[in-house]
């Protein structure tokens, strides 16, 4: 079922960048956590291996087939998320389902499913502008898992669903008025969420983005420590595993959400610049894959994956330097975490799946 010609069309450059970035992540995770029990760097290495296996397994099945089954996947994911909400206190903790050896976050995998569902929904959509019914339907498709995940509560993952919706709607074509309407609705929803849904700790996190110095040991503490780590790195950084902020544990969530601060502290502005350059190359390859799609659905898939990863990158990089609230979005590929890594590998796998099958009838 897989042709040798298909293998020839696999984008090895993209895979190389994917693996390179992930391995840099392993090194930074080592620096940030080698003095703690848990061997996070080894585990992350295992996740990368598993991620690659999953990615190649995904390539075996034509994305059209995956899309055909996407509503079943969707139904299954929504079912699991609901069950987690209902029976959450018995089997899981927040967004995690505990398995024998490690936990799984179904909300991360929900992203991949949403990409397929949205791509399928918009694949037959050939107008130049999105109709209200299309907007409503796609919003509902994203909105349901969004609410379920936000209630877990895992605001970070829930928020990272939004670029999928936004990306697909942009491709479908939104009038300027509609964009403005979405922004206004977003603000209103944000305000409503602020007063009704956000937990206190989330409110504090948001408010201290503006005044991190006001309350050094409170919610602003993490932002401030992260800024200190990055700023004290200077041009060249303090050297690998020599950053006082991370080694002395002033930096919070060093190997997960704040791994980028460790790069900033230990490798300085040069390190930051180099890392963002690698990301740029990776994202450019992703975005530039779009023209290689043979059909509309493929373009949708590639755009959504690219935007999703870009969104996570921009938010995380903005978050650790304190210009965006700490919403718990990991740095794609670099932050420790199997589910998030797997979701991103699968997403890239979808892109590869599309580009390798660019020639029809094979």
């Amino acid at each position: 079922m897989i042709d040798r010609r298909l293998i020839k069309n696999i984008d090895w450059y993209l895979i190389s960048l994917l693996v390179l970035n992930s391995l840099i992540g392993v090194i930074m995770i080592y620096s940030a956590s080698h003095y703690m029990p848990g061997s996070y760097h080894w585990r992350q290495l295992v996740f990368i291996g598993l991620g690659l296996l999953a990615l190649f397994a995904l390539l075996l099945v034509d994305y059209k087939v995956l899309m055909a089954f996407s509503f079943y996947f969707y139904g299954a994911v929504v079912f699991v998320l609901m069950m987690m909400l209902i029976f959450g206190q018995f089997t899981s903790k927040g967004s995690w389902i505990r398995l024998r050896y490690f936990g799984v976050q179904p909300s991360e995998l929900a992203k991949v499913v949403l990409i397929l569902v949205l791509a399928r929904f918009f694949s037959e959509y050939k107008r130049n502008q999105a109709t209200p019914s299309a907007v409503i339907t796609s919003s509902a498709l994203v909105g349901l898992p969004f609410v379920l995940v936000a209630l877990q509560p895992d605001l970070g993952t829930a928020v990272s669903f939004l670029p999928l919706l936004l990306g697909s709607l942009i491709l479908a074509g939104l009038k300027k008025k509609a964009v403005i309407a979405i922004v206004i609705l977003g603000v209103l929803a944000g305000l409503a969420g602020w007063s009704f849904f956000l937990k206190d700790y989330q409110k504090q996190r948001l408010s201290t983005v503006v005044f991190p110095g006001r309350d050094p040991k409170g919610a602003g503490y993490h932002i401030l420590q992260s800024k200190i780590a990055i700023g004290s790195g200077g041009l060249l950084g303090k050297g690998f595993a020599r950053g006082s902020q991370s080694q002395l544990r002033f930096l919070p969530a060093r190997h997960t959400d704040f791994v980028f601060s460790v790069i900033g502290e230990e490798f300085g502005f040069i390190g930051i610049f180099g890392m963002l350059l690698l990301y740029y190359l990776f994202l450019r390859r992703l975005f530039r894959s779009a023209p290689k799609s043979r059909d509309r659905a493929g373009v949708y898939i590639i755009s959504m994956v690219s935007l999703m990863i870009s969104f996570q990158l921009v938010i995380n990089v903005a978050m650790v330097i304190g210009i965006f609230p700490i919403v718990g979005i990991p740095l794609p590929l670099l932050s420790y975490g199997g589910s998030s890594l797997l979701a991103n590998f699968l997403a890239v796998g979808l892109v590869l799946n599309v580009t390798m099958r660019r020639f029809a009838n094979i």
């Binding site: 004290s232 006082s244 300085g268």
Partner: protein
């Protein structure tokens, strides 16, 4: 790309995709700019913040110098103890944290909060001592829960300890915590919160000598405040030890003798002016200042009617009564208004300026010479002497002999007393001096007041036949620069011939050894010379009118032996009755103890 076209026209959505990518690139450029600003432009600021995070300075408190008696018996020691402090900067939530710490240290939250509130205006990173005198078992309990309390630090804290508690408390003084204002002042720069400072006595006088220099430790700490290593360490320099002139045995004896009374005892070395004992009663336990009073205990202490905190020896003002007659005698001889042969007749009462003045002996003493007038402490004799001298010459000689002037002893807070003059009367009382007052002053009554230490110095002047000395508590120190403050005093020997003193001394010897008023102080083979005094608080007539039993302050002052005097003893017992009955026997105990000790050391 031409091939793609045959399937579908995707150019619109591809264009939109690349537009999205452009936005992403813009955002990345913006982020690079922000990182450039933080890492390159503001680097210095964040570097300093990271360093401040990384290191913690802590003070290693220097042990205070020891205070010893002249033979090296330690009167003020240091004991190792521990103290726990809160660093407010490290509290995530101060109220919650205080509750938890209170539970851990077994302090009520109110007490803890009031303590924190007391130092509210100090910088947040300053540790505030919340509990001290912790023992090792408390410390291990706290250390075992270290991780839960990043705001709590436990440090070694050498604490002052007075092994003999109230013994010599008024000499050594007490210590109290530095107040918030003091901590901010220049005078106490470099001192830390919770440190104690001498408030009275030797502890205050020689504070700079005793205090030592605190060391400093700069440690690398992690975000939990746990030590990760040491960057630098400056060892503390302990304070200098101090040897006092006090003699432990005499001091203890003096304290025992005063037990249950109110008063003061001073034992001086007659030649060097060294204070061998200085006791004031009632007294207090200076350890209590270290372990902290409960508010109730403190209020009780400061509101007590008998003022245990007052050092009566240097701050109690008493009329000298008959003790003053010695000054009268010396002065009168020096002025030439009498000679040792001059006699007056005492009929128990005499009239001057139209009013009667009584002698304490109702029947009178008959005709008396100077020596016998001192021996029997005859009032009438000295009324006559006073009238001949006049108030100005009385005051001049009293001051010359050390009364009504600060003695210059090296503990703070000494009072001056008062030798009245007409000039003083006009200036302070705004009234003229009555000649009758001169008569009262002649027997040490009226406005004249002195401190017991002044009396001791005055006695030493007579004993040494005219050498005025400054009493000293400082004996020696291991610091070469330490010296007691110098004070220039007039030497009476310049103005008074030594042989004049001899005549007064003869009367003092008779008073003790020939059945005079001071006979209670007689010690065989020691030739004690002394003088009693009984200070009337109300006049005898007034007391009789009121039908009250008069209780007088009871004085005795004396020296021994008669020739080559070595020791001066002054005793004051408030409301003690007659000087001969109460004070003299106490003085005797001290004279005999001194003699016994001296004989013993001479025998060795």
């Amino acid at each position: 790309m031409e091939k793609n076209r045959i399937y579908e026209d995707l150019s619109l959505i591809l264009r939109r995709t690349s537009r999205v990518f452009s936005v992403v690139i813009l955002l990345l450029l913006l982020l690079i700019f922000i990182y450039w600003k933080v890492q390159i432009l503001d680097h210095k600021k964040y570097w300093n913040l990271a360093e401040a995070n990384r290191t913690r300075e802590s003070v290693i408190i220097a042990p205070r110098g020891l205070i010893m008696d002249r033979n090296g018996i330690i009167l003020a020691d240091n004991s190792a103890s521990f103290k726990a402090s809160i660093i407010r900067e490290n509290c995530p939530d101060i109220d919650h944290s205080l509750d938890e710490v209170g539970r851990l240290l077994e302090i009520s939250p109110e007490e803890l909060k009031s303590r924190i509130a007391k130092y509210e205006s100090l910088p947040l990173f300053w540790p505030i001592v919340v509990k001290d005198n912790l023992e090792l078992k408390d410390v291990s309990r706290i250390e075992s829960r270290r991780l839960e309390f990043p705001e709590l630090i436990v440090e070694v804290d050498p604490r002052r300890k007075y092994p003999f508690s109230s013994l010599a408390a008024h000499v050594i003084g007490y210590m109290q915590e530095l107040t918030e204002e003091e901590l901010k002042s220049q005078a106490f720069a470099g001192r830390t919160l919770g440190e104690l400072v001498g408030r009275t006595g030797i502890e205050r006088q020689y504070e700079s000598l005793l205090v030592g220099t605190d060391g400093q430790r700069i440690e690398v700490v992690d975000s939990q405040g746990r030590r990760r290593g040491e960057v630098s360490r400056l060892e503390p320099r302990p304070g200098h030890n101090l040897k006092l002139t006090l003699d432990f045995d005499l001091q203890r004896k003096a304290t025992e003798l005063l037990e249950g009374r109110e008063g003061a005892i001073i034992v001086l070395d007659a030649l060097a002016g060294e204070v061998l004992a200085l006791a004031s009663f009632p007294t207090y336990d200076p350890n209590k200042f270290i372990t902290r009073f409960s508010p109730q205990e403190w209020m009780d202490l400061i509101n007590r009617a008998d003022h245990p905190l007052e050092n009566r020896a240097i701050r109690g003002l008493y009329a000298p009564g008959s003790l003053f007659k010695l000054a009268m005698a010396v002065g009168a001889l020096n002025c030439g208004v009498i000679t040792e042969q001059t006699s007056f007749f005492c009929a128990g009462q005499v009239n001057f300026y139209g009013r009667p003045f009584n002698c304490w002996q109702r029947g009178g003493h008959g005709t008396l010479s100077l020596a016998d007038a001192i021996r029997y402490s005859c009032n009438v004799y000295f009324y006559n002497v006073g009238r001949r001298m006049g108030i100005d010459r009385i005051a001049e000689h009293a001051k010359l002999l050390g009364l009504g002037e600060k003695t210059g002893v090296d503990i703070p807070g000494e009072k001056e007393g008062l030798i009245p003059t007409p000039e003083w009367s006009r200036r302070v009382r705004q009234m003229d001096w009555y000649p009758g007052e001169t008569i009262s002053v002649s027997i040490g009554q009226g406005p004249v007041v002195v401190t017991p230490l002044q009396v001791a110095v005055y006695t030493a002047v007579i004993a040494s036949r005219g050498r005025r000395l400054v009493p000293r508590l400082f004996k020696s120190s291991d610091s070469p620069r330490a010296q007691p403050p110098a004070m220039a005093v007039n030497n009476p020997a310049d103005k008074i011939r030594p042989d004049l003193f001899e005549k007064v001394v003869q009367g003092m010897w008779k008073s003790v050894n020939e059945e005079g008023t001071g006979r209670g102080a007689k010690v065989s083979d020691f030739n004690v010379c002394g003088k009693t005094g009984s200070t009337q608080l109300v006049s005898r007539e007034a007391a009789e009118k009121l039908g009250k039993k008069i209780k007088t302050h009871s004085w005795f002052t004396g020296f021994a032996p008669r020739d080559n005097p070595r020791v001066v003893v002054t005793v004051l017992v408030e409301y003690g009755g007659m000087g001969g009955a109460t004070a003299a026997p106490l003085a005797k105990e001290l004279f005999s103890l001194y003699k016994e000790k001296n004989d013993r050391s001479a025998a060795h």
